[in-house]
Amino acid sequence: MNALRRFDVAIAAMALAVLVAGLAGISWHTVRSAETVLVPALDRKAQSVARSVAGLSALAVGYGIPVAQFVRAEEVLRESLDDNQDFAFAAILDVDGTVFAEVTREATGGYATAEADGITISTATIQTADEVHGSVVIGTPRTVAERLVRDVWIDVAILLLVAVLIAFELTAFAFTLPSAQLLRGLTQRLHALRRGDMRPHPQMATAGPMGAEIEAADAEINRVRAEHQALQAAADGCGDAGVQRDLKTLSRTHRLQETRDSPPVSLAAVRAPVFLFFFAEEMTRPFLPAFIANRADPDIGLSVELIVALPIIVFMAIVAISQPFLNGLSERVGRARSLRTGALIAAFGFLGTGFAETVADITAFRALTAVGLAVVFVSAQGFVVDRTGAGQRARGIGIFVSAIMAAMLCGPPIGGIVADRLGDMAAFTVSAGIAVVAYVCAWVALPRGEVARESGARAVRVSDIFRVLARPVMLALLVGTAMPAKMLLIGVCFYFIPLVLAQGFEPAAIGRVLMLYGLAMLIIVPAVSRWSDQARLRMPFVVMGNLASALALLHLYIWPEPWGAALLVLQIGIAQGVSTTPQSALVGEIGRRVLPDLSEGGIYGVFRLVERLGTAVGPLFVGLIWTLLSADAALAAMAAVITLGALGFALAWWRAPVSLKTGSATAGSVQ
């Protein structure tokens, strides 16, 4: 295993080093040329606006209106300021250089203090054939140029980060291709032999000269093991204690009687299609709410906020409710085939959404996308579950969950940049294209043959739901902590925030804010999951995580946008990263104790269902209160639900029988 990892790491590190070096060079060059292009462009823009106002002024002078008698010149200046958010002020000076009319932005000073305020001035003279009558000046703060360059840096940094992550995915994907698998299999064997490790390797399909080498190595290992066994039998037969001891030592140092326990290499094949597919969906996060709002028709009697929530609610509800049903279907159809079909369905959904003109169309196409997404999710999960035993399942699921998290990190900023540059319609088309690439990827990499399921997680039954929720502790854990967490994530982070930010920011900026959730999860979850394995920390982690996520809402009132939203999303990401692993562990542990006759699969099925219902309820909850009362009320209600839920769970835990807690503590310390 170590050899395998070392080989992967070496190849990946080399590929990455080349890539990062190249990208860093390109980035540096991009930012340098941005500096040399952007700054003069800013000045040219100010110059051209100043000339245009001066031209109009000269026209007025030509008609016999002296500069000192210009009427409502501020209107013209105000308009040039409104059209160019970068300008700090615009003024008309008379021939002596005194200000005749001036319009300044609230935050900045005017012409008189320009030098002290660090404002660059662009001037155009008001001139008729032979005479100068005054001038028009436009002020651009020097910070604007700095901000533009900084924005370029941020964009480039994000692209670099995303490129690296995608490169990781592609490298991992490349290892799942047959030739790479052969190379890897051979390396694995040679490394093992060099260490004197004589355990047998998992069988693999072989072909070509490299296949022959692998077969030779395997044959040799088998021969050594067989001979060792024969010698052992012979030694046992004649009862030679010395030889027996030597053979035992040999067996220990060369692991002649051990077997390997590693998940099949083919599992990794599911990662790339899943990453690409969820990347396509995550791309739409920053601009979807505003996209719906632009097509909302308030005449149908609902507020714009609720209309925007509608397609999101429908999407989440379909994903939540259809999964148990789809699991059986994808099993019958075959995991690989259903995953591909799901990707194609979603591709049509993306494309249709991009061209939709009414909210009804958007809702219909988002519903189609939701079906596709649910199919892909269920198929990928089933693909892993079918191929792993209980011992390897957590790691198998981890492979594809981390792919989704990487997509959550990469998707929003890239989607935002695409929407900024090409428009949201084009961004949906790009999403559709990536979903098709995910389809191709799945077609290339996923094995055609199906394997028998090792242990089936059956579909959730209604009776399971009632049985699980009838237990106060389970009710408090699921409805009090799991559901509000998802309500907050979708209702606030992916619905409220993009919609509110869209009023003042470009999709790229919104995407940067939303990526912080994926970033926090990707970093926090692995770090915390080890820490929270100590069972006695689980309850406090869940309660504190949820309370911290409720407190995150305060950022919106403390900091100016977009920083408030960014800190909110980041804190929610960290807080949920802290609570999500212990929460999931608690579901299994408490469930085993209070419902010993219900299968773990059944308990987790109810857990996931309740959690996903939260994703649909979240936007509905926020949208309704937003419409009926106000945005502040919606956020306050959201905070109240999470806080009360978390405290309710703490209370239920506190009142629960001691055996439950000590029991789970034992279970935890055993692991």
Partner: protein, 349 residues
């Protein structure tokens, strides 16, 4: 409604100088009539009989130029009523003799005399069997010529030159906001009374008070322009901030009794007809030349495409020209807002 386009013009034509009124319909014409032009090449010319009120104007020039540019072969016979609509029946005798493909009329009196009111047209007196286009009819429905602008239901269609009241009020507000609007009108002119009513209806919505004063009538019921200067003075005393010149024939003829007094009293004046642009501080008008092109477009549809006039709507232009009279602005010391210069035309003398 065509008139509602004014604010778009303000934004859309920034920096392009005078408002150009031809483009909107010329584009449509090019699309609709292109195949027909090819067919028209070796045809013998269409015969068009024009009857005008006071001889040829820019409308007829626009009409002729449009057809020429479109390659429509026409032979135009022109007759003027010489300011006397009672001469029209005599001209109509000639029309019947010439048997033209189309009859063209200019102004409400000539048009009514040629085609008759809707429902009252008499084949003996009026032209009913030859397709007709009319222009410079300020109120095609109000004058009883047609009952519906969308379709005349008759063998005629045409154009109106009147700019609707709302963009006119808005143009005045853009130059100099006001609360009280003065009007001097001729109570015996049906058109003028109708427009005063229409402007009156906008008072609440657009936030002003209308002060409309009629010319006094003499013993025989004829309007008297002698009291013009006093009417202007009374309006100024009552607090009127603008004086609005309607498309009013009597007022146009006696504008010298009104306009100079307004300028002397520094009362800004506004006109909605091209004729009075030299007498008013500000005018929002349909250009006669553009109007002629619009009529010619309709004529082309009838002659080349064989469309029935009843199926062609009666229209006004969608874009108007805003004209600032700089000598008056100087005289009353009220210069236009700087931004207006980027979309208005300016008269400098």
């Amino acid at each position: 409604m065509a008139g509602a386009r004014f604010p778009e013009d303000r934004l859309g034509n920034r920096g392009l100088g005078p408002v150009i009124s031809r483009r909107s319909f010329l584009g449509t014409a090019a699309v609709l009539a292109a195949p027909a032009v090819v067919r028209a090449q070796d045809q013998k010319p269409f015969k068009i009989f024009q009857i005008t009120y006071r001889g040829e104007t820019d409308v007829e020039r626009g009409f002729r130029d449009y057809l020429e540019q479109r390659g429509v072969p026409v032979e135009i016979i022109h007759r003027s009523a010489g300011l006397d609509p009672s001469r029209v029946p005599q001209i109509l005798e000639e029309v019947r003799a010439e048997a033209p493909d189309l009859v063209y009329t200019w102004g409400t009196p000539v048009t009514l005399a040629t085609f008759g009111r809707e429902g009252e047209a008499d084949p003996e007196q009026h032209i009913t069997d030859i397709p007709g286009v009319f222009t410079m009819v300020s109120a095609p429905v109000g004058s009883g010529l047609v009952t519906d602008n969308a379709s005349s239901g008759r063998n005629i269609t045409g154009t109106s030159h009147v700019v609707p009241p709302e963009p006119q009020i808005r143009a005045m507000q853009a130059y100099q906001p006001f609360e009280r609007l003065g009007i001097i009108y001729t109570p015996t002119e049906q058109n003028a009374v109708a427009i005063v009513d229409a402007v009156g209806e906008l008072q609440d919505e657009m936030g002003f008070v209308l002060d409309a004063r009629p010319f006094p009538l003499d013993d025989e019921g004829w309007p008297d322009a002698q009291g013009g200067p006093e009417l202007v003075e009374a309006l100024v005393e009552a607090g009127a901030e603008w004086l609005y010149f309607l498309p009013d024939t009597f007022l146009s003829q006696h504008i010298q009794q009104v306009a100079p007094q307004a300028t002397a009293l520094r009362l800004p004046t506004f006109s909605a007809v091209e004729l009075l642009q030299t007498d008013a501080l500000l005018s929002l008008i349909s250009r006669y030349y553009s109007l002629g092109q619009l009529v010619a477009y309709k004529a082309e549809q009838i002659l080349l495409e064989g469309r029935r006039p009843a199926n062609i709507p009666v229209e006004t232009l969608e874009r108007f020209a805003l004209i600032i009279n700089m000598p008056i602005a100087k005289a009353i010391d009220l210069y236009p807002p700087l931004s207006m210069l980027s979309y208005a035309s300016v008269l400098t003398e």
